[in-house]
Amino acid sequence: MLIIPGIFKEAHAKAAKVYGADKTLFSVNGTTGSNFIVLRMLTLEYESPQILVTRNIHHSILHAAEWLGIKFRFIKSSYDPQFESLIPPKPEDVLDTLNNYPESNAVIISSPTYSGLAAKLRDIVKVVKNFDKEIKVIVDEAWGSHFHFSDELPKSAMQAGADIAMQSTHKQGGSLQQTGMIHWKEKYVNSELMYEAFREYATTSPSYHLLASLDSVRAIMERNGKDLVESLIKKAEYFKDLLGKKLIPPLKIMDDSLEFDLVKDYISGYDKTKTAIALTKFKETGFELGNLLAKNKIIVEKSSLNTILMLTTFSLSYGEIDKTVRVLSSLIKEFHKIGKKELIQNPFQHLETKPVIEPHTARRVAQTIGRIVPLKDAIDKIAAEHIEIYPLGVPVILEGFRITENNVRYLLNVKERGGHISARDPSLQTIYVL
């Protein structure tokens, strides 16, 4: 049969050019799949790799590390309890961690965060490359595929000089659900190893329709990306202005200047297409507000204990924004104002930056010396399983780490108030420990 290796290779090459990379590959398994491919590439290059990661990394990175026997160590991360948001590390925090673990092969930063906070990537790249230019800077940029197209947004990972970036183009980038891209610069990345990892992981039955969507979005963004992304920002600003006129105070918006002062030393900017709303002055939770909005046929990106997160999307109309504000306004009027709401301090914090026992061995060891205990009795014990809230995709309790009181309090609070728990025992009655 006549083989033309052309259309996919050509589409990848065009995307690399548009997104500022040397090379690009398309993913039909989201950034979850891309993360597995990139970590597999590290194991093809290094005998026993070690990576430094931010605490907000997606579970797919942790799972890939476990599958592949990669050691990971955490970079110090702060937390904003009002917006339930992990904050990107400062460059000096990255340097501190490098000094503690100089044998590391890569630094993986999740930026922007789910809440929209963008790390100081340019400075982090400088810090890492000054320390050792061979250490790769890898960015889980799942939420930042639109950054490349507007100066009103933070710089993209490729613009900031990162070596590899994994993007969920389906999130804010315009393509159909499940699609993403891996971009890289070839200076410190061996393309042949990346292609080999890709071949090992990628499905041999990809949906060409999904690939066509990525290719089509690339073509549109190449020509009109700036206007399209800035139209998203304008819609978000319109929404926030309306909220301000009708609802604030006491509704809290993350990028409102007063709230933003708390995190600005840590970040290079904010994803202005997002609106994170905190209900700190109300008795009600974000879960309750999210459910009420859903009953009014409005779907928000994420509800949490104290927050809801909303994205302005390409298809969202100004009429829909007006309707949303009307509904929000009438719902909030029925809410109960309170003086002070108790917020749980960092539920993602651990006593150690490295696991007590490596996660990839914790589960195996648990087969012989593990036991199941009530979650409330598990504080200070070593977890033999992950427990997370979804959406977010960041485990609260991590296999191989000691369980803290804040881990447990946060999970039980979320469960009690209707959040979705992803775990072996989603009722949170029990946990597997060592």
């Binding site: 042949e192 080999e196 041999t204 089509s216 979005v217 779907i299």
Partner: protein, 66 residues
């Protein structure tokens, strides 16, 4: 048996009922991207080798290990 509505299809039914929702969530799909006219007719596998291969993006590794 040709009437597709006679089958019990909860996922397809739910998706067909999403039209009235206001979505402040992913995916943020660009409405004007190039559409494929009939996805059920144009769905195709790697058997259509003349389209090339998605996973064998290049032959670099093969060349380097030859």
């Amino acid at each position: 048996m040709n009437n597709e509505s006679q089958y019990d299809t909860p996922i397809a039914d739910a998706l067909n009922n999403l039209g009235g929702y206001i979505k402040w969530c992913t995916p943020s799909v660009l409405p004007n991207q190039k559409k494929i006219s009939n996805i059920y007719k144009s769905d195709i596998s790697v058997s259509a080798g003349f389209l090339g291969s998605y996973v064998d993006n290049t032959r670099n590794l093969q060349r380097s290990t030859r």
